[in-house]
Symmetry: C2
Subunit: 309 residues, 2 copies
């Protein structure tokens, strides 16, 4: 079945079928762009594959595909290749950030997606280089396969979402907040950088893979991404106190254990839940303003915000 036919078929299915197809697509694409585990330096490549393949919800890839479908990019083989590249790029950035976040000098975590973290399964130096090499690969994949004329915008967007004013900067604020009581506005700003920036980039990379949306559409996409991105973290923090490690696939309650302020410790459990519902509403409003067939974006918002409660 051609990629277009496969995607068209999955487009007919319900969200579990569509999201399974999206996860399979990005897994296949990642397997293709990652160097083979036998290729020298073999230990590094094996560890890069260990860090990236076979796990995760792939929320960022799903946002790329869903936004791409909204924009009509997925209707050609070429468009699908652009979306695959963007989906790989955001998942590679996400995978690198997890490997570095788990290091002893950062969160010092031994368990990730139910498996030993990279520095435990391999060693610390390898984990450092895995993260470095995955970041480089993300930009290589995106630059190689973006639509002609869209490369500069796509690479700039991913880089700024990943850097000191995005994900890495959010992580720095997070580390500095250990043992502190943060105002909600500061915690919110931290999450918008640490998690929100890459989620927003995922939506925008998908929506703009082939052309630039109108200003109104861009603003609606931004509002949608901002709401979903923050909701993602709010729900994570709620799950972190309400779920055990086995169900979560990672060490539960670790932020509180590390004496980091969380949405729940800052707002309280009930207000945190209320906030997630309010963000759910914001995401829906943004999609109504966006117009077009935003069904899968709506599904993902449900999936993220309705994960448990």
């Amino acid at each position: 079945m051609s990629a277009v036919a496969a995607l068209a078929k999955s487009a007919q299915s319900d969200f579990p079928g569509w999201s399974r197809a999206a996860r399979e697509r990005v897994e296949l694409a990642l397997d293709h762009v990652l160097p083979a585990a036998v290729r020298s330096p073999a230990k590094l490549h094996e560890a890069m594959r260990y860090a990236t393949l076979g796990g995760g919800k792939r929320v960022r890839a799903m946002l790329v595909y869903a936004a791409g479908e909204w924009a009509g990019v997925g209707a050609s083989d070429e468009g699908i290749a652009h979306l695959d590249a963007a989906a790989c790029a955001v998942e590679l950035i996400h995978a690198y950030s997890l490997v570095h976040d788990d290091l002893p000098s950062m969160d010092d975590d031994d368990l990730r997606r139910g498996r030993p973290t990279v520095h435990v399964a391999f060693d610390e130096a390898t984990a450092l280089l895995v993260g470095d090499a995955l970041q480089a690969l993300a930009f290589e994949v995106l630059a190689k396969s973006s639509a002609a004329g869209r490369v500069a915008a796509q690479v700039t967007l991913l880089a700024s979402a990943s850097g000191s004013l995005g994900m890495a900067g959010g992580q720095a604020i997070d580390l500095d907040s250990v043992g502190k009581v943060l105002a909600w506005s500061d915690l919110e700003a931290m999450h918008r950088a640490k998690t929100g920036a890459l989620l927003r980039a995922s939506v925008v990379l998908g929506a703009t893979a082939a052309h630039t949306p109108t200003d109104l559409q861009g603003a609606a996409l931004d509002r949608f991404a901002a709401a979903v991105g923050l909701a993602f973290q709010v729900v994570d923090d709620v799950l972190d106190v309400e779920t055990d490690s086995a169900t979560l696939g990672k060490t539960a309650g670790k932020d509180a254990m590390h004496d980091k302020p969380t949405v729940v410790t800052t707002l309280g459990l009930e207000r945190a839940k209320a906030l997630s519902h309010s963000l759910h509403g914001d995401a829906g409003h943004a999609l109504s303003e966006l117009g077009g067939d935003a069904r899968r974006l709506r599904d993902i918002a449900e999936f993220i915000i309705g994960r448990s409660f």
Copy 2:
């Protein structure tokens, strides 16, 4: 004075004058692209600036400018902006790699360019994030300011030179070689990845900033860059055994101390020196085949290979 006039003036000067002008250009450009130290997250931005500004030979930036002059890119303000972006990008990648290489889990070095390394001056988590954010910034700067139509090629080149088949991969092989006796061919392959790939990328980014060279020119540039890149490491290893830490501005003899094979321990001092002279010859031949005004590329080869002996 306009950028073009300043560069034209420095083009008339001898190599010390030209290289000083090139170092000042890239320092100014880096100062401009790095976020201000007071901007949040301030500690991260201060550390990024500490890691990047005010030091280093700027060999990679010089290669960009010299190759750009050969290609005639520096004759317009627009061309100079493309070269500044490429020079910043390679220096940002180089700076990030030094910060990560110096970490306790890697080379565990306390001294760099005569100053405390980033994890000593700040802390280990900050050093990790500094490297991550500098890498993202390198791609952002390059994507934003490359010539239209050249972005995909430029970003792809820098990313592959930095990743698991380039610099990061060479570093992984280097770490795995601790305590081992390597064949010269393996050590050479390691250096071509660890140091050579980014030096080659510097030459090619400068030479191709505005247009694609002919196949013959491309091949000559590659041969030049390969010879200079390897010579750079050979000379470094020779200096490492012949110079003390104060003169070198970093811990001398550290590879031997870490029980890592070096060019000198593998080939012996005399053969290592002979190799650097032979590579010097290769670089010169490549430039003769390249044709055009390759004066500054030739000067840089002299500068690198004639550093001490």
